[in-house]
Each structure stands twice: as C-alpha cells, then as structure tokens.
Symmetry: C2
Subunit: 439 residues, 2 copies
C-alpha cells in the first residue's frame, strides 16, 4: 500500500536528524530523504540532485566491457597522462564543437571534473605568492568553493543574477585591480541556471585574463545541454577557450554521457599555459612548469583516472567525431522535460528566478524558480510535504532568497502527470490556507 | 629481428630527453624506456615500476561486468560514502586478517589509496595550527611526500635502514617533543623494502600517538604480500590499528587484487578518531568533525570512487571472507619470484640492501640491492645497457647511496632464464672491465 507524505512525520524526522534548512548539508539532506521514503513508504520525485537519467551510450558500455576483458587494462595503472585514444578524440571533439585547436597532450583525464577543478585551482592559486584569490561567478556547484577552502585559497564571488555584461566586466576589473586575483571560475552552461556568458562577456574576460595573467576556469560539465549559442550555422558553443590561452577547461562524462558512476573527467588547456613556468609553484609542486605540475598532481592525487572507463569515453567521443552519435540530440530530452516542467510551474503560480536572457539558454538540466511569499527554505519544506525534492539556491551561492533548484535528470516523461498533480496540490494548498505563508 | 641494447643509443636518447639520474623524474624515465624499446626494437625486463602482473580475480571481474550491465550503476554517482556491500565486507576482512573491530561506516572507498593518503594527511595536518609536520618513515612511496608538499605541510623523515626498535621510538619521541608533529606516515609492508614494524615498535608508536594526539598513517597497499607476522597460529599481520585508535589505514585493490587500472582504495579509521572535533579544521573543511570532514573531502575531490569497481572489490572481499578465495596464496607467487631473483643476484656478486631483519619480511613484491663499487645511478644505467630496468633507492627517500629497487610484478617465471642471462652478462662485464667502475 502506498503511504502518505505526512507533514508531522517529515517534520519530526528532519528535526531529529538535525537538518538545518538555513545552512543545509546537502549530503545529509539526501540521506534523510531516502530514509523518509522508507519510513513513509512513498516515492519522492527526486529533483534535488543533478543525476543523469538517460542511459549511457551503447558505444561507451561496449568499449568498457571490452576493456574489462583485457586483464592488462584492469591490472595495470592507467598512463598517468591518460589513454592516447581518449586524448586524441577529446582534442578532435573540442575542435569540432568549440572550434578550438588543442594538443592531445594537454587533454588530461581525471577522476571526474571535480578532480580537474581541484587541480585547476591548485595551480592557478599558487603561481604568485600574493595572488591567492579565486573569483567565483555565482551561482555555482558548491564543491568548487569547498576546494578553494581546502586549498587554503581565498574565495570571492559575484552573483550573475543581477550582474551581466559591462557591469560584470567592471566587477572583475575591480577585483583584478586589488592585486590578489589568481583565477575566475564558473560553469558553462551554468549549474544551476543553464546560462552561458555572451560572446562579448567572454571576449572581455579573455582580454582581462591575458593582460593580467589571471586564469579562467570554465567548467563545461553540462556541455551539449543547451542550444548552441552561436548565430552562425555551426553547432558551436561559447567558451572562454575561444578567446584566451589562459584557461583551464573542465570536461565531464557524468552528465554528457550519463557516466557519473565511473568518475571520468578531463582537465584541458592550451600549450601556451601548460608551457609556462612560475617560480612560486616550486614550493608546492616541486617544479615550476604548469604542464609538468599538473601531470604530477594527477599522479600524486589519484594515480590517474580509471583505466577501462577511459576506453569507454574514447569510443563514444570517436562515434561523435565521426558523426555516428548525436549526443546533442540525445541530451535534448532534458530540454524537453525542462520545458514541460516550466510550463506546469508557471501555470501553478510559480515564477522563474534566473530566466534565460538569451534564447541559447533554453533547455538545460536544471530549473530555478520560486513561489510568491515563500522563502527558499519554506518552499523546499512545502514541496517535501507534496512529494517533490529540490534544493535552495543559497546552496549554490545565489543571493536570491526565494529561489530553489530542480533537476529534470530523473524526471521521466511518464512522471510528468504525477509531477503536475503534486504541484497543483501544492498550489491549491497555498490558496486554501494563505496564513501558512507567515509560518 | 631482435635489436641490441646499444649503449651509445641509450646514452644519447636519455641525454636528449634530459634525464637527470641524480634527480630522477620517474614518470619521465618510464616514458623514455618505452621509447627506447621501440627505437632499439628490444624488450626490457621492466622491474622499475610496481605493477601487478597476476590476473585480477575472476570474482572481481564477474561482479564488475554485472555492475556495468546495470545502467543505473554506471549513470548514477556512487554514494559518496561508498557502496554498502564494499564497506561491510571491508570491515569483515579487517576483522579476519588484522583482528580489528571497525564499523563499516568508517571504511570509505577512494580513488585508490593515493587519494586516501592525501585526505589522511590533509586531516592530520590541519587539526592544530601549530602542528603541520608529517614524519615519514623512509624509504617510502614518493607521491606521499609530494602530497605533504602539495598540502603546504612540512615533511620530516627518518630512514628505517639504520633506525629500528628503541632507537626509532626515541627519534619519534624527539620529533614529538618539538611540538609540531601532526602524523607519522609509513607503508606496511614497506615499499620498497617489504619490512613491517615489529609488535614492540607498533605498541610504542601507538602509545606515543595516543598520549600526544599524533595520528599514525599506515599504508597497507601491499597487505598479504609477506608472511603473516604473528607468532600465533592466526593468519594475521602487524598493524598500528591493533594498538591505537589514532590511525588512518590505507587499503588498495591495486596490488592485492591486481586492480591498479581501476583506482579503488579505501580510507579506514576508528569511530573514536572519526568522531573527534578539532576547532582548527573548520578553516579548511567547513566543519570541525573528522568523519564529516573526510566524507565531504572525498565528495569534494572526486565525488566518490568508481561505482562499478566498488562492486567488483566487494565481491572478491566477500569470497575471501567466506574462505572461498585465498588471496595470500595467490600473492605468494610474487614471493616465489622474489626468492628466485634474490638467488640469482647473490650468485652474481650483488648484495642485498634492506635485508629482512625478521623472517616475516620474506617474500614481497620488491627487492632492494646494490653492486659493489657502483652508485645507484651507475647501477641503474649499467642495468639499462643489459636490458633490465630498476629505480634508485634515493627516489624513495633512502639514504643508501648504492641501492636500487626492483619489482617482480611483471617478471614471470618464464622470464627468469632471460633475467639470469642478462644479470650474468652484466656481472661478467664488471669483471672484464673494472675500470668502468670509476666512470
């Protein structure tokens, strides 16, 4: 028998677990939601975490199975610079889709883009003794800022909600003027807003980076999840790597190829940056050269990235490069879901928070929204009572107080009627007892 | 047609690549040896790196294949605390083989023991502002010290070559007395000497750790590769975890289960240590609790450990725990190879460097030896001319100037005649032209 989303049990359970909605520990919340599902015998529509719901590509799985049958691949350490096939196909892929020319040598596999982000920050923040500040363009994925902290570097932030275009460039310029800025870090498409920076913004950021030797760290974990941003006929996205050599580009197989389980990402950069030497790096890396320090750090942190999975991703990239696998079309399913969800929300009195400014930000994997009169914490709790889980935008560094993030990764088309029903029940309950607004 | 190990080509090739034998970059050497093999059309007996040569257990491969067929395992992030089966079987395994009682909760999968070591040091060295020193018992695996450096912590060292027993304890005590010691780090069995600390040494180190809140970091990546060290009938090895709660134990599937490709290790500790709070940790981890900080850091560094591989290792541990798979017997093959190699070396004028003090250190994966009148760099080069690759002990922090390390992982029994032939050719060449000693 199906259970009920009992308000009292939910409140009691979360209170006992010490869930603090104002300073949310995401992992703890995830755990509690799973516990609640068992306790109440219910199934939440899990929109709180960013989990890919599409199946991994057959090409990847087949190559993965083949690699597993080669016992030398399983038993031997991966080359710490990565499997050649993967490096070559990555460079080719980036050429085709971003229009940038990179050397396979500088496409370095890591244990997820998370490890790549850590190393990118470690290098960026240790090139000059006096420059230990990372500017995060918010909102963003919280572990990136946790890495800044773990590295003993300093975080500063600007929220893209109210700061775009010339204003954004001015803010970056003023941070640079203070003399402590090592890098600027953001995700593109953005998690959680699906936004991408415009060509003008990227061009200006690129110039600022070049002139001041600041590094741009662009996390492209969601590449392919929004429409191509270029006006030309080419299927090409905006990327800082098109405007400066001073970049680290982070790639991930997790979302693009539904390979989150296997921890495969990539740290990519230009030969120009990789070839540079900095005196101050020697203290932490035992060498002054950026490329050498990165290769060593991958080896010293995780001894490379999982061996068999590298062959899996090499194969799917090859299929894409040869025009045999249209990953953008496949990922378009998330865009369809996002549009359906957005329609349902708007019909039921919700408002969008980070509305797409440009058409290219349509689609995406996440939505950001709020409900009039409710704070994010209140909305999160109310939705919990109605069988839907989301996260407050504050978790991602957003200054917007009423917004939450929902991910469509696990919400399949067949779940849509259930989603609509729960949202409309929530909506009716708001109309029925508006006094609750003030609780 | 088979090529020759041409002295001139080798010299020229290594010189051009800028190989500095006095300050060796291991990864660079590995790369050059592979290049030499192609250039000269020869095959080296690769004893320079620690690569498992035995096939991975069927149980692991089968479970791995099964997990890969479950697309939800591939596509979804691993639980950041690890797959339950793996945690449970690890705790059971440690109970059976080390005789310690641990909670599965505190058996945390990582991307190899390398990541585990990094996190263990990060935590240890950030509990007290004034205690940022890690004492490394040498020789040891170089990346561990590179991690200390990467974390901005301070390394100090004592060489076990000439310092054991009471003397070792006195050295540790004197480091503690200086007031800056955060942790003591070593591998057991030792890489590269196969030594294990004695029960008396461990007992005393354990007491020093308890009294002074110093953490013992024991890297057990080579567990099972030497005879059990206990006099009792139980098949049990010495471990610091038997003497204090103040430990981090690092496990790895790489050598024990020939799973180096897949990056699976484990960070293990006591509930007592995991439950402790330290004010100073908040600055780096955003929380004061050891266990919570470790879970967060695994999530923030690599978002967990490869999902399918966790099921693989869970299965093989289960087979061991149920008495269906005798991994010690399987690993005994390396001991057989090591004994055969040792005999050949001794017959040809070599001497052992870190000779086993106790019987329990017999067997092993590595050998350490030298040749009269040659420095380690000279011996390494001379062996390169004779088709054998090794590494100088200085790479591992040893103070012994003539010693090299050789690994028997890839040297199969059928390679033994070739090994013996090359060693005897080398030996004859030393007798034939002793003047070369002075080069």
């Amino acid at each position: 028998m199906k259970g009920q989303f009992c308000r009292e049990t939910i409140d009691k359970s979360l209170a006992e677990a010490g869930i603090d909605f104002e300073r949310l520990d995401i992992q703890e919340l995830w755990k509690q939601i799973s516990i609640l599902e068992q306790k109440l015998n219910v199934q939440y529509l899990r929109m709180d975490f960013g989990i890919p719901g599409l199946p991994p590509p057959d090409a990847a799985i087949n190559a993965h199975l083949e690699a597993l049958s080669d016992r030398k691949i399983v038993s031997r350490y991966p080359p710490s610079e990565g499997v050649t096939e993967l490096k070559v196909e990555t460079a080719e892929f980036l050429n085709l889709f971003l229009g940038i020319q990179l050397e396979p040598e500088w496409c370095l596999p890591t244990c997820g883009s998370t490890e790549a982000a850590f190393i990118a920050q470690a290098i960026s923040g240790r090139r000059y003794k006096e420059r230990r500040q990372i500017l995060h363009l918010e909102p963003g994925y919280p572990p990136i800022k946790a890495q800044t902290q773990l590295l003993g570097l300093e975080s500063c932030a600007v929220d893209l909600y109210a700061c775009r275009g010339r204003q954004l460039i001015d803010v970056i310029q003023s941070h640079i003027n203070e003399g402590h800025l090592a890098a600027i870090s953001w995700s593109s498409p953005n998690n959680p807003t699906s936004m991408v920076l415009s060509e003008e913004e990227l061009r200006d950021i690129g110039m600022l980076c070049e002139w001041n030797d600041v590094i741009a760290i662009e996390d492209a974990a969601y590449l392919g999840m929004i429409k191509g941003g270029r006006s030309s006929g080419l299927r090409q996205w905006n990327s800082i790597s098109q405007y400066t050599d001073n970049f680290f580009l982070l790639l991930s197989a997790s979302k693009m190829f539904s390979y989150a389980g296997e921890r495969i990402g990539m740290l990519v950069s230009s030969a120009a940056l990789m070839g540079r030497d900095y005196e101050a790096m020697d203290e932490f890396f035992g060498c002054k050269n950026v490329g050498r320090a990165i290769k060593r750090t991958i080896f010293n942190l995780t001894a490379g990235a999982p061996h068999t999975a590298q062959y899996a991703i090499a194969r799917v990239l090859k299929a894409i490069n040869q025009g045999q696998y249209d990953f953008v079309k496949i990922l378009g399913e998330y865009g369809n879901r996002a549009r359906a969800v957005r329609d349902i929300l708007l019909r039921n009195g919700f408002y969008g928070v980070y509305e797409p400014i440009h058409e290219e930000s349509e689609g995406g994997f996440y939505l950001t929204f709020g409900f009039p009169g409710l704070t994010a914490a209140q909305l999160l709790k109310e939705l919990l009572y109605h069988g839907i889980t989301v996260l407050p935008l504050s978790v991602f560094g957003s200054r917007h107080e009423g917004g939450v993030r929902a991910c469509v990764g696990l919400l399949e088309q067949e779940d849509m009627p259930c989603f609509e029903h729960r949202i409309s029940e929530f909506s009716k309950s708001r109309v029925a007892c508006p006094a609750r607004l003030m609780q």
